[in-house]
Symmetry: C2
Subunit: 230 residues, 2 copies
C-alpha cells in the first residue's frame, strides 16, 4: 500500500492529493506537522520537505515536482489524451513553466506567506517560530495575489485550461495554491471573472472534495470556500 | 541557432551551461543582469528567472529544471548509458530528488546568500537593493555549506557519482552551485576529502572549462578556483 505524508494546508501536498485523486489512487494518508521535523520522516527524506509519497514497493518519492514527474512516468501513458503532462514537447515545457510559476513564484509571493503567518504560526510552539502573524507579510501576499489572479485570467482568456486545451498539472498546481488563499478569504475574486470561472470549474471536480472538507482547528473557512457556485 | 540567456555567477545558469557543454551544444550566449528585469527578456519569460533557453525553433524554455527536462526529452535518448537522467524510474527519482536538494535547499541555504551578498549587490544600483554585503547572511551560508559538504561526502562514500554509478544531472547541479561558493573561497574543502575528490573529478571535465574562466570584475577568484589539482 502506498503512503502519502502531507499537511492539509501545505499547497504542495494539496497539488499531489489532487493528482492522486484524479488518478483514482488512494494511498494511506499520514498527516505531518512540517515544523516538527520528525525523525522517521527525515530518515526517509533527509530534506524534510512535504509531501512525501512512499509507493507500493517502498520507494520514497519526495517533493511535489519529483512526485508529479514520477506519477506521469508510471501512470501518464494510460491516461491518453487526459494525460496531465501531455506528450508533446512544447506542451510539456508550457506545463512545467507554469508548475514553476505556481510552486516557486506564487508560493514565495503569496501562499507561503499566508499559510505560514495565518495557519502554521498558530500551531507552532513559540520556541520554533510560532506566534502572532506578521501583518506586513499578509499585506504583501494580499497585494501580490492580485497580479497572479490577472495572469490566470489572461491565460484563460485564450485557452480552455491554463496550459492549453486540456486540464494539466498546471491547473492542479494553481488551484492547490489558490485553495489555501481562498480558505483564508484572501482571493479578490471580483477582480477577475475569467479566473473565477476557471476556479469554479476546477473546484467542482470530484478530486477537489477532500480539500474542501479540510478545516483549520478554530478557524472556519471563508463562507464560499466549499460553495461550488460561489 | 539556439540562444541561452544567463548570468555567469547564477548557479542555475551554470548548471545549464554544464549540460549544454556535455551535450556539445553551443548556443549563442546572452549575458543578463538579473536585477535589471529587462523588458525583452520578460516578454519571452514573464517570470523573469534565469537561465532562459530559446531553441532553434524559437521555443522559449525558462528555468533550470524545465530546461533540464527539455534537454533530456530532446537529447537524452541518444546518450544511451551516459544519459544524465537515467531511464530507470527509481534512478530518475534519485536524480530529481538531488536536483531539488541543490537547486532549492543548497540555493536557499548557501549559494543564493553568497552570490547575492558578495557578487550581485556589488553591481546592483542602491535603489534596486545594491550595497555592502550583509555579513550575517554570509556567516549563515558559511555555516550551512559544511553539512552540505558532509552530505556529498556521505553519498560519494558508497557511490561513484552523487546519484549512483554514472554521472547525472545531480552531479552537474551540485558542482554548479559549489563552483560559485568555491570562486569566493567559502568551501571548507579540508573538512571532507571524499567530497573534495569528487569535485576535482567533475571540475576537470572539459564542460567545466568555461565556468573556470569566468571572472567577477574587481574580485579575483580564490587561488585554487581554476586549479584542477587543488
Amino acid at each position: 500500500m502506498a503512503t502519502l505524508h502531507y499537511h492539509p494546508f501545505c499547497p504542495h501536498s494539496r497539488f499531489v492529493r489532487l493528482i492522486l485523486a484524479e488518478l483514482s489512487l488512494e494511498p494511506d494518508m499520514v498527516e505531518e506537522k512540517p515544523w516538527e521535523r520528525r525523525m522517521p520522516l527525515l530518515e526517509i527524506n533527509p530534506a524534510g520537505n512535504l509531501p512525501l509519497l512512499v509507493d507500493n514497493s517502498g520507494l520514497a518519492v519526495p517533493g511535489s515536482s519529483v512526485i508529479a514527474e514520477y506519477l506521469d512516468e508510471t501512470h501518464g501513458e494510460s491516461l491518453g489524451d487526459r494525460r496531465f503532462l501531455p506528450r508533446d514537447v512544447e506542451q510539456r515545457v508550457e506545463v512545467r513553466r507554469l508548475l514553476d510559476w505556481f510552486h516557486v513564484k506564487f508560493h514565495a509571493e503569496v501562499s507561503d506567506y499566508l499559510a505560514t503567518e495565518k495557519i502554521y504560526k498558530r500551531f507552532t510552539p513559540a520556541e520554533l517560530g510560532g506566534g502572532p502573524p506578521d501583518m506586513g507579510a499578509i499585506r504583501a501576499a494580499r497585494t501580490n495575489v492580485r497580479y497572479h489572479l490577472k495572469y490566470i485570467g489572461y491565460l484563460i482568456a485564450t485557452r480552455n485550461w491554463l496550459a492549453g486545451q486540456h486540464l494539466t498539472y498546471a491547473d492542479l498546481a494553481a488551484a492547490a495554491h489558490l485553495s489555501i488563499v481562498d480558505y483564508l478569504g484572501d482571493v479578490p475574486w471580483d477582480e477577475d471573472e475569467t479566473a473565477k470561472h476557471w476556479y469554479a470549474r476546477i473546484k467542482s471536480r470530484p478530486s477537489f472534495r477532500a480539500l474542501l472538507a479540510d478545516r483549520v482547528l478554530g478557524m472556519p473557512p471563508w463562507e464560499h470556500y466549499d460553495n461550488l457556485d460561489f
